[in-house]
Point group: C2
Chain length 507, copies 2
C-alpha cells in the first residue's frame, strides 16, 4: 500500500509549529521595515533573533531527527518509492532543510539573526547619510559570519556555492558562470548598438510632478487588476520595496514613491505584486510544510519580473491601462501619446540604481554584484575594497560611476541582511520570466488580446496552476522542465530583448 501524508502527521504538526514561529518573526521584520519607531530597533533585533533561534532549535531537535531518519535515507536524502509523490517531496525537502540547519549551531543562528537586524538598521542610516564608512563595521561582522556559515554548510568548489544553494537549491556558480558569460557577450554589444542608435528616447514625461498618494492609488488599482487579493494582503511604504508572507491569507507588499519619478512606485508595485501573487497562490493546506513554500528565489523573481516586464512594460498592457493613467494624471499625461509613454518606460541607458535599471542593463548590475560578493566570500576581496571595486566594475560594464555611496555600493539592502548569494537569483528570474511568459502565450492563444482588454486574470490563473500551487513539490530544475520543457535558458530572454530594443531603437 502506498503511504501518504497522513502517515507524516506527527512530522507535519512539528513543521507547522516551526513555520508559525518563523511567520511571527516575519511579522516582526515587516513591522521593522514599515512602522517600527526608530528607538525600537535594538530590542526588535533581539526579539527576532529569539524567534529564529527557537525555530532553528526545533528544526534540528532530536525528536524531529528521529521522525525523519525513520523515513528518509540519510545518504541519498530521499524517501522510498512506497510513498506517494507529495510525501516523497515533503520528505526530500524537509530533509534538505533539516540537514542544512543541523550544520549550523543554534547560537550561531541567533547571533547571525541579531547582527543582521542591527546591520540592516545601520545600513538605513549609512544610506541616508551616503556614508559607506558608517556601514563598514556592520558589513565586516556580517561577512565574517557568512564566511563561517559557508564553512559550516560545506561545499565542493567555492564557499559561495554553499550560500547560493540557500536561495537557489541545486545551483552552483560553476553552472551559472556560462549563463553570465553568454548574457554579457550579447548584452554589452546590444547596449552599444542602442547607444549608437539615431533614435533617442525622451523620458522626461515620467519625471514631472506626480501626486504621491495618487501614484500609490494607481499602484493599488494595477495590483487589483493583477488579481492580488487585498482581503489577504496590504500595500505599504518602505525604504526598499519588498514582499513578505505570513500565510497565503496574509501576504504583504511594499512600495516607495517619489514625486518626480513615476516608474519607481508604478513598477515596484507591479514587481512586488508578482511576488505577492506567488505567495497568495501557494496552497494554504500545505502551510507549514515545504509543499506550501515557493520553490526557489529564482522562481520567485521570475514571477515579479514577468509581471513587471513582460506585462508591465508591454504595449498590450498599456493599451488598457494608459488611458486610466492619463485619467489619473491628466495635466501631466493628456498630451503624451501612448507610443511616447511606451518608449519612455522602455528607454535603455546605463544608470546607477539596479532596481530602476531597464531590462537591458539590469543583468549587468547583477553580474557586478555577483562578482563582488563571490570575491568577498572567497576571501579575494575585503569590505574595505568595496567602493573601489564597485566603481571600477560600474565603469567597465556600464561606463558610468556613482558620485555618492548611496547611489553606489550602499543602494541595496541585501548584504546588510546577510543575503550573500541572493543576487544570482535575479538573473535566473529574468531568464525564467521570458521562458514562462512565452510558454503562457503558447498555451493561452488569447493572452495578448486579454491583456489589451485589461484582463490579467487568465495569466495569473495559468501561473498559479503551473507554478504557484506546486510549492516545493518539484526541484526548481524539474519544475522549469515541467512548465517549459527545458531548464533555465538565456536564449528566449536574449531574443526577447533583441527584438524589443531592435524595434524601439530601429537597430
Amino acid at each position: 500500500m502506498v503511504k501518504t501524508l497522513t502517515t507524516l502527521e506527527p512530522l507535519i504538526t512539528r513543521l507547522l509549529e516551526i513555520r508559525r514561529i518563523q511567520s511571527a518573526a516575519a511579522v516582526l521584520s515587516w513591522d521593522q521595515e514599515t512602522y517600527m519607531p526608530a528607538g525600537g530597533g535594538a530590542a526588535r533585533a533581539e526579539q527576532i533573533a529569539t524567534l529564529e533561534g527557537l525555530a532553528h532549535q526545533r528544526l534540528v531537535s532530536a525528536e524531529l531527527e528521529t521522525l525523519l531518519t525513520e523515513w528518509v535515507d540519510p545518504v541519498t536524502g530521499q524517501a522510498a518509492d512506497s510513498w506517494d509523490e507529495p510525501s516523497r517531496s515533503l520528505l526530500r525537502e524537509t530533509w534538505r532543510d533539516f540537514s542544512r540547519a543541523k550544520k549550523l549551531p543554534s547560537d550561531f543562528v541567533i547571533r547571525l539573526s541579531r547582527e543582521c537586524s542591527l546591520a540592516q538598521q545601520a545600513w538605513v542610516t549609512a544610506r541616508e547619510e551616503s556614508r559607506f564608512s558608517k556601514f563598514l563595521p556592520s558589513l565586516k561582522t556580517i561577512l565574517g559570519l557568512k564566511r563561517d556559515e559557508a564553512r559550516y554548510l560545506g561545499y565542493r568548489n567555492s564557499p559561495y556555492d554553499a550560500l547560493l544553494d540557500t536561495y537557489e537549491p541545486g545551483s552552483t556558480i560553476a553552472q551559472l558562470a556560462p549563463l553570465f558569460t553568454q548574457l554579457r557577450e550579447r548584452l554589452v554589444p546590444l547596449l552599444r548598438r542602442v547607444q549608437g542608435s539615431t533614435v533617442t528616447i525622451d523620458d522626461r514625461c515620467l519625471h514631472q510632478s506626480f501626486d504621491q498618494s495618487k501614484q500609490v492609488e494607481f499602484g493599488r488599482l494595477v495590483l487589483t487588476a493583477m488579481g492580488y487579493d487585498f482581503e489577504r494582503g496590504r500595500l505599504d511604504l518602505s525604504a526598499h520595496p519588498f514582499t513578505t508572507s505570513f500565510h497565503p491569507t496574509d501576504v504583504r507588499v511594499t512600495t516607495r514613491v517619489f514625486e518626480n519619478d513615476l516608474p519607481s512606485c508604478l513598477f515596484s508595485c507591479i514587481h512586488e505584486g508578482g511576488h505577492g501573487l506567488y505567495d497568495q497562490g501557494l496552497d494554504p493546506r500545505y502551510y507549514g510544510s515545504p509543499l506550501g513554500e515557493s520553490v526557489s528565489l529564482g522562481f520567485h523573481e521570475s514571477q515579479s519580473r514577468l509581471w513587471e516586464n513582460c506585462v508591465g512594460r508591454s504595449r498590450a498592457f498599456w493599451h488598457c491601462f494608459y488611458p486610466l493613467l492619463q485619467h489619473t494624471f491628466p495635466q501631466q499625461l493628456a498630451d503624451v501619446p501612448l507610443e511616447r509613454f511606451y518608449a519612455a518606460i522602455n528607454r535603455a541607458a546605463p544608470s546607477l540604481i539596479r532596481v530602476e535599471a531597464d531590462e537591458l542593463t539590469y543583468n549587468l548590475h547583477i553580474m557586478l554584484r555577483v562578482e563582488i560578493e563571490q570575491a568577498l566570500i572567497e576571501g579575494r576581496a575585503e569590505p574595505d575594497d568595496l567602493p573601489g571595486l564597485w566603481n571600477e566594475k560600474m565603469q567597465s560594464y556600464l561606463g558610468i560611476v556613482p558620485e555618492r555611496d548611496a547611489e553606489g555600493v550602499l543602494q541595496d539592502v541585501h548584504w546588510s541582511m546577510g543575503a550573500f548569494g541572493y543576487f544570482p537569483t535575479y538573473t535566473l528570474g529574468n531568464l525564467y520570466s521570458v521562458q514562462f511568459f512565452e510558454q503562457a502565450a503558447l498555451e493561452l492563444p488569447e493572452l495578448e488580446e486579454e491583456m489589451r482588454a485589461g484582463h490579467l486574470l487568465p495569466l495569473r490563473r495559468w501561473l498559479e496552476q503551473k507554478i504557484h500551487r506546486w510549492g516545493r513539490m518539484f526541484t526548481p530544475d524539474h519544475l522549469a522542465r515541467r512548465v517549459t520543457g527545458s531548464g533555465v535558458n538565456p536564449e528566449p530572454f536574449l531574443r526577447y530583448l533583441e527584438t524589443k530594443y531592435g524595434e524601439l531603437y530601429r537597430l
Copy 2:
C-alpha cells in the same frame, strides 16, 4: 553578604527569553488590531497561540522551577532576607507568575489564546452588524474556558477572584464590593442632583464637523506635550483604542476618530498617552523581569485616567491648549469661549458608551459590567441572558437603554479577549488617579501654574519617579501607600467629583 541580582543571572536570562516571545506575540496582536488584512485572522490566531504556548512552556519548565525553588520558599512565596530588595521583589513576583502559570496546562493556554483571537475577530464583525447572536457562540466558548481557568487557578470564595487577581494582584471581589457600594451611594444621588440642576450644558460645539486628520494631528501634539516619545512610540488607528508595549523603546498607542465627535479622538489620545507614559517610563534595564513590568492594571488605568481627567478635563490644561485647538479648528471653535468648551467636555449625563462616559457616570458603567461578569463566572447567569441583563441594569443605574447591541452589550472588546475580571481595575484606576494627582499637587506646588503654561513634563517626571520606574518592585497596595500614605481610597475621588460638578452645575 547580601545577595544581589547578579546571582539571579541564570534566572533573568530565561525570563528575558520568555518576555521576548511574549513581546513578539504582542506585536502580532497589535498588527491584528491595526493593519492585518481581514483574511489573515485565522492564521494569526494560530501564530499567537503558538507563541503564547511556547512562553508558557518555558515559564513552567523544570529548569526554571529548579532555579526558583532553590531561592524561594514555596509555602510563603518569599525569598530569604539575605537577598537585597530588588532580588527579593524579583523572586517574589516571578514565583507568583510561575506558580499561577504552573496551574494551567500548556494545551489549555494555547487553546485559550487561539479562541480569544478568533472570538475577538468574531466580536468585530458582530459589533459592526450590531448582532449579539453572531458573537454568542464565541462568548460561550470563551466563558467556558475562563470558568475552567478559575478552577485551575483556585480561589477561596468566588471563582471571579481567581481572574481578578490576574489583573490586580491581591484584590478580591469581597474587598472591592464596599468600594463599589460607597461609590454607588454617593454617585447616584450626585447624578440626580446634576440632572435636577437648573444649569444645562450644551455640548453641541463638540459635535460639529472636524477634519479627521487634523484631529489626529492635534492628538499627536498633546501626546508630545505630555512627554510621550515618538522616537519610542507610534499613534495608529484601531476599532478600540489601546496601548501596547514591546519594550520601553517601543510603546504604541492607538485612537479612533469620528468627524462629528471631537472628544473621542482627543480624550482617547490623552488616555492612551497616560498608559504609554507608564510603559515608556519602565526601566529598560529590567525588561524581561517583573521589575520591568507595570505593577497592576489598576495602576495602569490610574495613569491613563489621571491624564485624561485630572489633566485633560481641567481648566488649567485648556488654558494653554484651548487657543491651539481653536487655531486648529477656527471655523468651529473661534466663537466658543473657553468656559463653554470646558463645560462641554465635562457635561455629565447618562449615556450608552462607557469609553465616552463622563467622570460621574463612568463607574456606574463599570459596576454594571462587574456584576454581570461576576454572575457569568459564578454560573449565576449565562451568555444567552446577557442582552436582557445589560438593559435591565442600564435602566436601573443610568435610566436609559440601548436600542442596538453595538451600543450595549457588544460595545467592549474585553469579554471577547477573555478579559473577565479586568473591569474592576478601571474603577480602581479612577480612585487611584485622584489620589495620585492630589499627592502630585502637594509635592509640586507649581503644578497648576505649570499646567496653565502647557508644561506637563514636571508631572510626567513625578509619575515616572514615584510609580513608573519601580515596575513590580512593590505590591500594588504597598506602592499606593508609598506614594500617597494610604491604600486605595474612594474619598478623594468622590470629593473631587462633588466639587467639580457642584461648581459646574451650581448644586
